[in-house]
């Protein structure tokens, strides 16, 4: 009887010890700034590399599907190229596509290694980071629309604030009409739709109108197709529409993403700062 009791009390002490150390650790990483940063960064690195392994394995199961998607995208680009060649009257390989002098955007492709869509504020992880030229506050697009904005970057991984995040606002406009507003997600858990706000109510809006990026935010190039309008409503007392937009992009299935590097951002930012100080 006695030895058993002793084992029990030893285990109880161990549990109490672990509990108190756990509380201390929680307090440390919650209320101390520098420790909290180090902790988050370490978690980012560890979970990033775990997610990378998992995604490597999962990747094999969807190779065929991914191949098809890439083929389609390739075909689309090729047809554009041929049309352009036709217009210029040249062979596709002779086309003058050198834009190095005035290149504004550069895309970095990356694999999505982690993705959440079920939270209020959703994030994704990409398997490329600073080494690939990615920095904070760059746009991330997928093959059918916008995915999010880069939020935290370390050497090899990037955390992306998804479009399904209460802080994300995408500057979007109505195709061919030019009126622009901001596209937000209203946290309702439905990842097929987003809401386009700030379009004045005098604008004629038809259901089925297409929505694309406006290019005003310098995160994204203009003219990326985002979705189409499937519902409109003017909230009582408001002078702007609340438009329901069905997305082309299925965020539940994305495997690849492109980070948009905008070479004009530094120049635009400094100009903006100058304006602000006026």
């Amino acid at each position: 009887m006695l030895p058993r009791l002793k084992v029990f009390s030893d285990v109880g002490n161990l549990i109490l010890f672990l509990l108190l150390e756990g509380i201390s650790f929680y307090l440390i990483i919650t209320f101390n700034d520098s420790q909290a940063k180090i902790y988050q960064n370490s978690v980012n690195v560890i979970s990033g590399s775990i997610a990378n392994q998992a995604s490597n394995i999962r990747g094999y199961f969807s190779l065929k599907e991914q191949n098809n998607i890439l083929l389609k995208e390739n075909a689309k680009l090729k047809s554009k190229l041929f049309n352009l060649a036709e217009k210029q009257g040249a062979k596709p390989e002779d086309l003058d596509l050198k834009v190095t002098q005035n290149q504004i955007f550069n895309l970095v492709s990356a694999r999505v290694v982690n993705n959440s869509i079920s939270l209020r504020n959703n994030f994704l992880s990409l398997n490329k980071g600073r080494k690939a030229g990615i920095t904070e506050n760059q746009g991330v697009i997928g093959e059918n629309g916008v995915i999010g904005i880069t939020k935290a970057v370390n050497d090899n991984y990037t955390t992306v604030m998804s479009i399904f995040n209460s802080q994300t606002k995408i500057s979007a406009r109505i195709k061919d009409k030019g009126y622009f507003g901001s596209l937000v997600w209203n946290n309702n858990g439905d990842v097929r739709y987003m809401t386009l706000n700030d379009i004045p109510k005098h604008v004629p809006i038809k259901l089925g109108d297409k929505v694309e990026t406006s290019g005003y935010s310098n995160l994204f190039p203009s003219g990326i197709n985002l979705g189409k309008i499937v519902g409109k409503r003017i909230p009582p007392g408001s002078s702007t529409y609340e438009l329901k937009v069905k997305l082309y992009q299925d965020m539940t299935k994305i495997k690849f993403a492109y980070v948009v590097i905008n070479y004009e951002t530094p120049a635009l930012d400094s100009l903006y700062l100058q304006t602000k100080s006026l």
Binding site: E21, S24, F25, Y26, I28
Partner: protein, 173 residues
């Protein structure tokens, strides 16, 4: 029993006040990039009587650590270090065990055990506390060198102050 309660209670109060009011303000430095923090409050829980229930030892160490943390605005650092150190105390006690063993009713005080026993007892355990504290403060093994330098500097000064306090206050069971 009541005397032990009174002695330990007073010791906790005095050492917390000393730590918070005097030593937390008396940071020495800078010595290059480093400061010396004087940490003397571990003495309070290190002197708990041998018969104190383990659970109570943990909770008291955690509590006093947290109180000091609150005054330093570093929640969790000293609390974690104190709990870890009180967990290590039985191991050190076993290492230093005198030939006749310990009397359950006693406390590990200078008055009972004299300097040759008391110096390693306090030095080792205050080193454990301070090492744990600075490991958590720096919080990354990348700066192992900084952790060790900070620990050694603070440990040396803190331990001297602890002995000074022991000489002046002469804690009893």
């Amino acid at each position: 029993m009541n005397l032990a309660l009174l002695n330990n209670g007073t010791r906790f109060v005095i050492l917390i006040l000393l730590q918070v009011i005097v030593f937390n303000q008396a940071r020495i430095g800078p010595l290059g990039p480093y400061y010396i923090d004087i940490i003397i409050f571990p003495l309070a829980y290190l002197l708990l009587p041998f018969r104190t229930p383990r659970e109570l030892q943990f909770l008291l160490a955690f509590g006093i650590g947290l109180l000091v943390d609150l005054s330093l605005q570093s929640p969790g650092l000293h609390a974690g270090a104190s709990v870890f150190t009180i967990a290590v105390r039985p191991i050190i006690l076993r290492l230093l065990e005198p030939r006749g063993g310990y009397d359950k009713l006693h406390s590990p005080t200078l008055q009972r055990f004299k300097w040759p026993w008391f110096v390693p007892f306090i030095s080792i355990l205050s080193f454990v506390h301070i090492l744990f504290y600075f490991s958590m403060e720096v919080f990354t093994p990348l700066y192992l060198g900084a952790i060790l330098i900070k620990t050694l500097l603070s440990w040396f000064v803190s331990t001297l102050f602890i002995f000074l306090i022991v000489i002046i206050l002469n804690p009893l069971d």
